[in-house]
Amino acid sequence: MNFVANFSDLKVVGTRPVRPDGIDKVTGKAMFGADLSMAGTLTGKVLRSPHAHARIVSIDASKALALPGVKAVVTAAGDFPEISSEEAAAGESPVNFRHMAHNVLARDKVLYEGHAVAAVAATTSAIADAAMALIDVTYEVLPFVIDVEAAMADGAPILHDDLVPSGMAAPGKPTNIAKRVEFKLGDAEAGLAEADVVVEGRYETTAVHQGYIEPHAVIASVNPDGQTQIFASSQGQFMIRQYVSKILNMDIANIRVTPAEIGGGFGGKTLVYLEPLAVALSRKAGKPVKMVMTRDEVFRSSGPTSGGVMTVKIGAKKDGTITGATIDIALQAGAFPGSPVAPACMCAFACYDLKNVRASGYDVVSNRSKIAAYRAPGAPISSFGVESAMDELATKLGMDALELRQKNAAKAGTKAAYGPVFPEIGFEQVLDAAKSHPHWSAPLGPNQGRGVATGFWFNIGGDSSASVFVNEDGTISVVSGSPDIGGSRASMAMMAAEVLGVPYEKVRPIVGDTAQIGITGMTGGSRVTFATGMATVQAAEKVVDELKKRAAMIWDISPEAVDWKDGEAVPAGANAGGFDPMPLAAIAAKAGKTGGPIGSEVSINAQGAGAGFGAHICDVEVDQETGHVKILRYTAVQDVGKAIHPSYVEGQIQGGAVQGIGWALNEEYLYDKNGRMDNSGFLDYRVPVASDLPMIEAVLVEVPNKRHPFGVRGVGEVPIIPPLAAVANAIKAATGVRMHSLPMSPPKIVAAIESGKG
């Protein structure tokens, strides 16, 4: 299907129907990972390292296995194949399976507090707890390192003796630096030298957790012939299938993964933690095994995203034209390589049309839990530095902060520092909408300040599959391979209904398991409505073609002489014959006599995801004596391409903005002097609560992405990027102090106000 040029013809896309899974979710019927059970299910639990860094000398599970009710204990050495370095990066994805396996279950060393050491399956939860206490693990405790700069310093404790950094000269000695990346356009240093005004600053962010409310949960059942069922809450059933197969050396066809409803992911459920353990335990015990993390385990052993340190330099002419910009950033990867340092660098200056720019960064391991993706991975971190520096630059130039951004805004034809030339993008329209929004010019009171910041995310496409089936009564079933975290089933049904010309309520979508639908990448990167939506549209179009063929057969005319209009076959013109329109249901009823059931499955690698841009305006009031920050008003403007279901698009923007506000103000990983996490619960890991916030106004700018039939751009990632700097810039405006370090918690703000600098 070509791009729909005339949006006013759309009947379903752009409306706000009730989601198909809605009633299950408001009545408590929806089945999340921990809600499922099978007859005879055992409880699985994980024994975790109490040390930040230690060598495993021995593991003796004999006493645990002797406890009545204990059915299996698994360890890496005893039950998991060792994956060689050569096999590690097999496949197209940038995943290192050796590292992943070692993260799921420590082999020679534990690399962080909470690192899994062994797993137990028992008939009850209490017996599993007792069994874990009976497993003797002898550790040789090693020195540890938590902070990124300390991990890079000479003499730092080394996590991986065999780590060879990429993208840089071999250091000739063991290192914690896994990778160096650099993206360049023009000559940044020369550009800075041309500037009339230069700002330079060092900025820091801390690790923050995705904070989904549903802890990881899985139930797995392995038969003696190897056939394996897994029900799990994750962002990708095919991801689980692939990773379990790699880690446990199993045939993929033997693994069937059914996606349970997922209680939030935000990138944090794009990895496996429990699934291989549950499978290994079930294989050994011969019974289904269910495993559910505690909240403490979620914080200590899953997620978070990186913290980092960076230096940002931006130079501009007096008129605001930026002549050069650099960012040097180092990100924590956690215990294994893989921080989002590349996207952090790529996104850093992508909002601006710059001729001379350099972004470089390091990926650094330390004794923290391995980081996982978190909404626009890396981008909020570099954006905090860059957009804070842009605010400083505007102040120095005496320019309106939005005008400075308008002056330098990326537009169609801009070459980004990371390579591509942007096609039609909506950043200028976003900035115009922000500037003309009443919020930007509303009056402020004492101790109040306003900040603005912008954000960019690539948005992605990739592998997606969907099928569309016409049922005998003319209703439609849609199956897609994308777990639905935020309402995507509604979008799939809406797009299918639009193409088929039938009412939304006649289309019922489900998320298929790995045996029911073709391979589909994870729900993440803001790809589902774009890529899986494209697969759904194409499948629906094929069904329309078939429906036209069947009508032609019934009418005994050529298929080319049939048009499809509002859910009915109609003769293409006067010459085609004088037939009455034939509704979809009538064609469906005759399908058996015209060639059999009507349906289509489409598997694609979707290309042409449209980049997304946003600008957020934030008003704060700062209690100058206590440093408490109140968010007074918040407006998030974003180019969404075309909103299929505007309510869920707004919801993505509002939710992302609030996660960014939490990141800005209070969320952080705290470690004690032994390298153990000190705030592993929702009491002291402070996510925003309802009373912390005002309404979040989401302003949808629609600059369609012409590579999607309905103009869709991904929307989920962009909104978490601007808040960090938007809040910081508002605090600067309210207090006069520039906060260089997240979170901007009250003690830090008070200290900054008292010392006169952030």
Binding site: D296, E625, N666, N679, L683, D684, D692, P747, A751
Partner: protein, 287 residues
């Protein structure tokens, strides 16, 4: 492993007998909002839980000629819903209203909040400032103990084995007397107090402070009283407020921890003392 047992006795003597006779650790449960978290995390490993909520008198609020009597296990939500007590002791209710969420307030009690013996307990500073007295029952009978003397150190109380708090007595509020409680937290709800401050003031007809009690939480191993003599005799003018700020800071002996630094806690103690005093002063003046 020893099995945990549970009892919900219907009288004080039965409860005392169970607690005093327990072989291992016995825990008194009222709302259970701290106890269940401790059980789950393994921080507390009792062999017996004695649920006191079925004992007549443990739940409920009544006004007497001398003031107010609050059953020790009364959930804090009942305190805020009680118009009479809320009017008499708005500061105490402000404190209990800050214990956890709405859900937690549906269970959490004054006795539990006190006997958990956290320096940050939100209901305690205002109770001490009010001069509240705990009626303690136990194997040796009944005794009255000022709330200020219950907590001896973080996690420790002056209660002996077999003892528990049966009820609290709050003196009658008369004349121009009122209280207030403020706490500082990074969010607006759901946090443990970084600093808490309860203030109880009595004024004369001219608005001059004749009695003042100012108590801080979360700035020392236990709740601490501030030397408030500097504001007695004043109309809480700027000089008096500055003096109170200084006195509050001087009373602090905090620690650095994940919730706040020594410097921050000390500074905010002074700020909250001033602000809470101002609220209490305005309330008292309006009476």
């Amino acid at each position: 492993m020893p099995r945990l047992s549970y009892a919900a006795p219907a009288s004080v003597p039965d409860a005392v007998k169970l607690l005093a006779g327990a072989q291992g650790l016995a825990k008194v449960m009222s709302g259970g909002t701290d106890l269940l978290v401790q059980l789950r995390s393994g921080r507390a490993k009792p062999e017996l839980i004695v649920d006191t909520k079925k004992i007549p008198g443990m739940m409920g609020i009544r006004e007497t000629a001398d003031g107010w009597v609050i059953g020790a296990a009364t959930p804090s939500a009942e305190l805020s819903e009680h118009a009479g007590f809320s009017a008499a002791y708005p500061g105490v209710v402000e404190g209990t209203n800050l214990i956890g969420s709405t859900q937690v307030q549906g269970r959490a009690s004054l006795a539990g909040n006190l006997c958990n013996a956290s320096p940050a307990a939100d209901s305690v500073p205002a109770m001490i400032a009010a001069g509240a007295v705990a009626v303690v029952v136990g194997p040796t009978g009944q005794r009255s103990v000022p709330v200020a003397q219950i907590v001896t150190a973080p996690g420790r109380t002056s209660l002996a084995k077999g003892e528990f708090i049966f009820e609290f007595h709050f003196p009658k509020v008369s004349g121009k007397q009122a209280d207030a409680y403020l706490r500082f937290i990074p969010r607006t709800e759901m946090d443990i107090a970084v600093v808490g401050c309860g203030v109880n003031l009595t004024l004369d007809a001219a608005g001059v402070i004749t009695a003042a009690s100012v108590v801080l939480g979360a700035v020392a191993p236990t709740q601490v009283a501030v030397d408030a003599t500097s504001i007695v005799g004043s109309k809480l003018d700027d000089a008096a407020l500055a003096a109170l700020d200084t006195a509050a800071r001087a009373a602090c002996n905090p620690i650095n921890d994940k919730r706040g630094t020594i410097e921050f806690r000390t500074k905010v103690a002074g700020v909250l003392a001033r602000r809470a005093a101002k609220i209490a002063y305005d309330r008292a003046g309006a009476r």
